[in-house]
């Protein structure tokens, strides 16, 4: 694991991370292009990633973690831009369900992202300027293809487990479909086999907010020294609501006022929930690139496994991967029926699949939070996969 550079904040930190991330980086030269679904061969390109724990001599204990829309490779360490803990420290770390003392854990920034893997904010090698909208449109399968190239580079043939939630869960499913022989176990959480019309609609609202900001400048804001902060903040605010639930918002904020007793009869943030969302929006723009947000939401919109394979069942036919699919009762972004569609398709092919719907009012974001029932099942699944793969868990076959 690389030594992390000192924590910086503000755009300076974010802009530096784009090309020179404070994590590990794998660079692929002109002779190793990434074949994109849009028909473009992307070369050269780079993938920024983090690694925790150590790879065993059989190279059989590698776990790949896939991040969600606004996540990145800093899954279990202090974030170099925000200074906050890793985004999945409930799941990953010493003694956690994905135990870094037993497993070699890898998390890569997705292609199209803005934390060091090639994306619209990266420098276009042919112009010396940021790519902007000249960067080719990427898909979830493209992200997975890039991760597979990274694993080839690391000399890892088969993954003990691929795990991820939301857009990360889409990548998990894509991994299982595209490279079934390389995935021993798959843990797709709070996700679905395609983006629903409602989710595409939400994404479009976010993109329109970004593009409506005059500072977006047709995507060329980097050349003019601006950043569509307000548009991106609004996009984040709208999206953030979809990550929570009515019950969670009510419990957290109710109709409580922010630092005041009475309404101000103005458009200040009178309510705590407004203040909270404004904070979510403004802190997000400090760490995320607006164009990258457009690209990644687009990648999710295009995701549809069944469309690519005729039916969902066909996509998984003959798979030997063991699956554990998890959904949350209050998740209205990826409601349980989306997960059940995956489970039914896997069942139809006789796959080894477990499924649990976790009761919680914390909405889509529950997968990132300390929800013991979810973490217990994840731990049980990964441990049993390790046993099945003979990674000595202290038990012997009777």
């Amino acid at each position: 694991m690389s030594e992390l550079a000192g924590i910086t904040s503000g755009d300076g930190g974010r802009e530096r991370e784009v090309d020179h991330p404070s994590s590990l980086v794998a660079t692929f030269g002109p002779d190793e292009p990434l074949r994109l679904d849009c028909g473009v061969d992307l070369a050269p390109f780079q993938i920024a990633y983090q690694a925790y724990g150590s790879l065993n001599s059989e190279r059989s204990n590698a776990v790949l973690v896939c991040h969600a829309l606004t996540g990145d490779q800093h899954v279990a360490n202090i974030h170099p831009v925000t200074g906050k803990p890793g985004w999945w420290e409930t799941m990953i770390g010493p003694g956690r369900p994905i135990d870094t003392e037993r497993y070699f854990v890898i998390c890569a920034n997705v292609i199209g992202g803005c934390m060091g893997s090639s994306g619209p904010a990266s420098t276009n090698p042919s112009t010396g300027q940021p790519w902007g909208l000249d960067f080719p449109v990427v898909t979830i399968p493209d992200m997975v293809r890039a991760q597979a190239m990274l694993l080839d580079r690391l000399g890892i043939d088969t993954l003990l487990c691929v795990a991820g939630g939301s857009m990360g869960g889409m990548q998990v499913l894509q991994w299982a479909v595209a490279y079934p022989e390389r995935v021993f176990a798959a843990l797709p959480v709070a996700t679905g086999p395609r983006h629903s019309a409602q989710n595409i609609a939400f994404d479009e609202v976010g993109r329109q907010a970004v593009m409506a900001d005059p500072d977006w400048r047709g995507g060329r804001y980097f050349a003019e020294g601006t950043h569509p902060r307000r548009g991106l903040a609004v996009a984040r605010m709208a999206a953030h609501i979809t990550y929570l639930s009515d019950a969670a918002l009510h419990r957290k904020f109710g109709r409580r006022m922010q630092d005041r007793e009475l309404p101000t009869f103005s458009f200040d943030a009178d309510f705590q929930v407004e203040s909270y969302l404004r904070h979510q929006g403004s802190s997000f723009v400090e760490r995320f690139d607006a164009n990258s947000y457009l690209y990644l939401t687009r990648a999710m919109d295009y995701f549809d496994i069944a469309a690519d394979h005729g039916t969902l069942a066909k996509a998984f036919l003959g798979t030997r991967t063991r699956f554990c699919v998890v959904s949350f009762t209050s998740d209205w972004l990826f409601p349980t029926p989306e997960s059940q569609a995956v489970v039914r398709a896997l069942n139809a092919g006789g796959a080894r699949v477990s499924f649990a719907e976790i009761e919680t009012d914390r909405g889509h974001d529950a997968f990132l939070l300390d929800v013991p029932e979810f973490l217990d099942i994840a731990r049980a699944f990964i441990d049993s996969a390790a046993v099945a793969r003979c990674l000595g868990a202290g038990h012997t076959t009777s």
Partner: protein
Amino acid sequence: MNEQATLPLPATGPANGEAPRVDHLLVAEMVEHGSRVLDIGCGDGDLLQLLESRGVDGRGLEISREGVNRSVAKGLAVIQGDADTDLASYPDDAFDYVILSQTLQATRQPRVVLEHMLRIGRRAIVSFPNFGHWKMRLQLMVKGQMPRTDRLPATWYDTANIHFCTIKDFVQLCDEINVRMERAVALDPYGRPLRFNAPWWFWNLFGEQAVFLLARGEAEARK
């Protein structure tokens, strides 16, 4: 919460070194080595684990998340779901055996569930408590109240068992939906099989529970 914290670690032998239940052993003995099995209402996965330890490729369906969690901790593949609604989504002939162990009486539509079992699987194994057992009859006759036993201690108003039947009732249902009985075993209160050649009325009176190995009837099999 405590229960969650003390989930058993994955193991491959019987949980906690306990001996398997007699009815589980009986079911396991009916299943051929190397076959594919779906256990409906698999609970904590004890039967599935027993089957997998005997070279069976097992899957489970369980309504409670706690049951699913404990099953997954044992390394089993178990789906959270409801037999009454979710069996329809399983394809035909997906399994060699579909097992319903002590769960028939808790389903809303036992007949539909049984029909699905023999569509999904080539064979079905059903075990259930016999409501025709003499102790049940005696309680109802003498006390005039719904029977309660050590094995079935719930009161009528909080029991999950909404469709009790007797061995005779079950045999009648099998005839009605053209299901062939390949084997039937009745167990006494100590879990010992009753005499093999005893007449049905004897089993219905002295069997505390019954285990049936079923196959599709002739007409069904030809389809």
